[in-house]
């Protein structure tokens, strides 16, 4: 692409990340420092760090790409990603902090006193963590190949190595500062170019986002197809394209309709309607359920709550996170919408995830200012991969070192980090064709159907038993994992089976809750004897010092 600023910008972000890591390393002395930042993190820092960790490749690149491709119906992704923090605030934040649990497996043991349930939770934490790590590395590979022309594995491996080394050497103390810095970097990297893009759109006499004749190319464009698709041209011609095909379009040519995308203006602009689009409606509700309830079950999110001094602080931190994350999610929509005007070729290539990175130069030209903005966006994207991957890796490695390796030492944590980082790196090299946001959505669905019922019932219902919890996690989470594997590895499906497996939450979440309650009622004898004491601890304010 020949933008001379991109590679230095990415290198700078990486160096700053590692640099802050080493600054933090000097402060990290004991195992406790290493794992939970000695709980000396202020709420504002903590909230920015949670936000930084949470805004992943899916938020930074994927949401805008989805909006470009599918339109208004996928606005539920950003809304749901933010609303997940509201659910976390309402049902989980303060009691979880008061439980003193550091990870989800810890919570299982504190609440239900079962080692076996702890092992089961460990398996799910690792699965969800890896499922979420793969698209981060994938996004890195995609971005670097888009902006710098490097082969796909380079970006993926670069992020995997930097993050693994940084987590293994710096631990979470360092990560907190890194994450907080990266939240602000990501916000700036989307907000500043967005202002210029909006001004450019004004200067171009506000071209219509959904012109009556459908989107058209604003400049002569050569498109290299990357995914198999069926193109329908406005004159009625139909053409099958394969990866590697080159198509030439002149200025003003209409964009052909691509199978599977909402290129048609009304589909893109208007929400799904009843009757003709019941599957779309089901998918929307499933997505809402997965994102609203899945956030609380993501391993890297929960770990952060332990760094709050008490339950009330955990609540306030969550509110600040909600505000920070909500602020950020105003931006990807702008990129997705303007992408319809300035980068319609992405609809044909299928690489809609690249819209955020490509839009600045496509809209603003190739002057130095435009290139600097493009480099800023690329740096922000890298911050997104680095921060989310660091957070996930820290929590997966923490779980592996305490529950699988059974060691609490710094050396054990480092070994666990290498294991936790190596597996998704290998996976990411072998799955370059998956849609970044789709995989992340599946991770949310698994979390919502396993840990969400466990946390909500564990915190609010005295009747939960270890067997009930295990059965619910196994059946609900298992069903969601089955759907994930079928989507990722299975044959392509169409119609209702496709909807039910790509958006499984609407049936797996109620299933998990039902099984958990039913089995708990049937095994009432196994109620933990100390449930009253645990409830007291989860819900009474620390000020009473009971």
């Amino acid at each position: 692409m020949g933008n001379p600023y991109v590679v230095p910008a990415i290198v700078a972000v990486t160096l700053v990340t590692v640099g802050i890591g080493f600054y933090g390393l000097r402060l990290a002395r004991t195992t406790s420092d290493f794992l939970v930042a000695s709980r000396a993190v202020s709420p504002t820092w903590n909230a920015a760090a949670i936000g930084g960790e949470y805004l992943s490749a899916a938020s930074f690149l994927g949401v805008a790409g989805l909006i470009l491709k599918y339109g208004v119906d996928v606005l539920w992704y950003p809304v749901g990603f933010a609303a997940g923090y509201l659910a976390l605030l309402l049902f989980v934040a303060a009691p979880l902090r008061r439980s003193g649990a550091f990870t989800l497996p810890d919570f299982c043991e504190v609440r239900l006193g079962s080692r076996r349930l702890r092992k089961l939770a460990t398996v799910f934490v690792i699965f969800i963590g890896w499922l979420y790590l793969v698209p981060q590395l994938q996004g890195a590979g995609l971005t670097l190949s888009t902006v710098a022309g490097s082969p796909y594995p380079v970006g993926a491996l670069l992020v995997a190595v930097v993050v693994t080394a940084n987590v293994a050497l710096g631990g979470m103390r360092a990560i907190t500062f890194v994450q907080a810095f990266q939240y602000w970097l990501k916000l700036t990297a989307l907000a500043v170019p967005a202002i210029f893009l909006a001004l450019q759109w004004q200067a171009d006499a506000r071209p219509a986002v959904t012109p009556p004749d459908g989107p058209a190319f604003r400049a002569a464009t050569t498109v290299v197809v990357e995914h198999r698709a069926t193109l329908t041209f406005p004159d009625g011609g139909v053409r099958e394209v394969r990866p590697g095909d080159r198509l030439d379009f002149a200025t003003g040519d209409p964009v052909p309709q691509v199978s599977g995308t909402a290129i048609d203006a009304t589909d893109w602009l208007l929400p799904a309607t009843a009757g003709k689009d019941d599957q779309g409606l089901f998918g929307t509700y499933s997505l809402i359920l997965a994102t609203f309830l899945g956030t609380m079950g993501l391993p890297h999110v929960l770990v952060r709550f332990y760094t709050n001094p008490d339950g009330a602080a955990a609540r306030r931190t969550t509110l600040v996170v909600l505000a920070l994350v909500g602020l950020f999610y105003l931006l990807p929509t702008i990129y997705g919408v303007l992408g319809r005007i300035y980068t319609p070729q992405l609809l044909v290539t299928g690489q809609t995830d690249a819209v955020v990175v490509l839009l600045p130069e496509a809209a603003l030209g190739h002057g130095p200012a435009a290139r600097l903005l493009a480099a800023l966006v690329a740096a922000g994207a890298f911050a997104a991969f680095l921060s989310t991957a660091s957070g996930l890796l820290t929590s997966v490695a923490g779980v592996i070192s305490t529950d699988v390796l059974g060691r609490g030492s710094v050396r054990g944590f480092q070994l666990a980090t290498v294991i936790a980082g190596g597996v998704p790196a290998v996976l990411a090299l072998n799955v370059s064709g998956l849609d970044v946001s789709e995989v992340v959505g599946l991770a949310f669905a698994v979390a919502a159907s396993s840990f969400c019922p466990l946390l909500v019932l564990g915190i609010w219902w005295r009747g939960l038993t270890d067997l009930g919890a295990a059965a619910g996690v196994l059946v609900g989470g298992g069903a969601a994992i089955g759907a994930v594997l079928l989507t990722v590895l299975g044959p392509p499906l169409t119609g209702w089976p496709a909807t039910l497996t790509t958006q499984p939450a609407a049936w797996t979440v109620p299933l998990a809750f039902t099984v958990m309650v039913a089995v708990s009622m049937a095994t009432r004898r196994r109620l933990p004897a100390d449930v009253g004491v645990t409830m007291l601890r989860l819900h009474t304010p620390e000020a009473l010092r009971l």
């Binding site: 606005l75 539920w76 509201l86 605030l89 208007l270 004491v533 409830m535 819900h539 009473l544």
Partner: protein, 148 residues
């Protein structure tokens, strides 16, 4: 009401803590009220605390009251979000005309989901933090309140 009256509340023999007895020469009211109140409220709070920690019926009921209050609050606010946001896809589905309505040149669904949803969520969260802290304050007051 004088200090002597207070100390003589019936049914409280336990409160008759040995107070450094003021002699008649000193103004009796001030000394007695202060000391009696302090010792009484402390021991009341201690008693409620031990009711809580030892899981007596009273303690259990107190905690359950708090848990119910917090859960009811959380459920009420989620219902608000469920109707306010969760109702939108359904509303757009049964009333397609709503999706075509434009405000400031932007279709209503885009404005509602792309912009308005976020301040709404933050507002609900802010209300929850305030109300949940108030519930906890009420509980703390209940536990630490001297019984009358």
């Amino acid at each position: 009401m004088t200090g002597a009256d207070k100390q003589g509340v019936p049914g409280r023999p336990a409160e008759a803590v040995p107070v450094p007895a003021p002699r008649a020469a000193q103004p009796p009211r001030r000394t007695r009220i202060v000391l009696a109140e302090v010792s009484r409220s402390a021991s009341r709070a201690d008693r409620t605390r031990s009711e809580l920690t030892q899981q007596t019926r009273v303690g259990e009921a107190l905690v359950q009251g708090l848990v119910r209050a917090q859960l009811a609050l959380a459920l009420r606010l989620s219902l608000l979000v469920l109707i306010g946001l969760g109702g939108l896809p359904w509303l757009f589905a049964i009333a397609p005309a709503l999706g075509r309505t434009t405000v400031l040149g932007i279709n209503l669904p885009w404005l509602l989901l792309g912009v308005a949803a976020f301040p709404f969520l933050i507002g609900v969260g802010w209300a929850y933090v305030r109300l949940a802290e108030r519930n906890e304050q009420d509980f703390t007051d209940l536990v630490q309140r001297p019984e009358h």
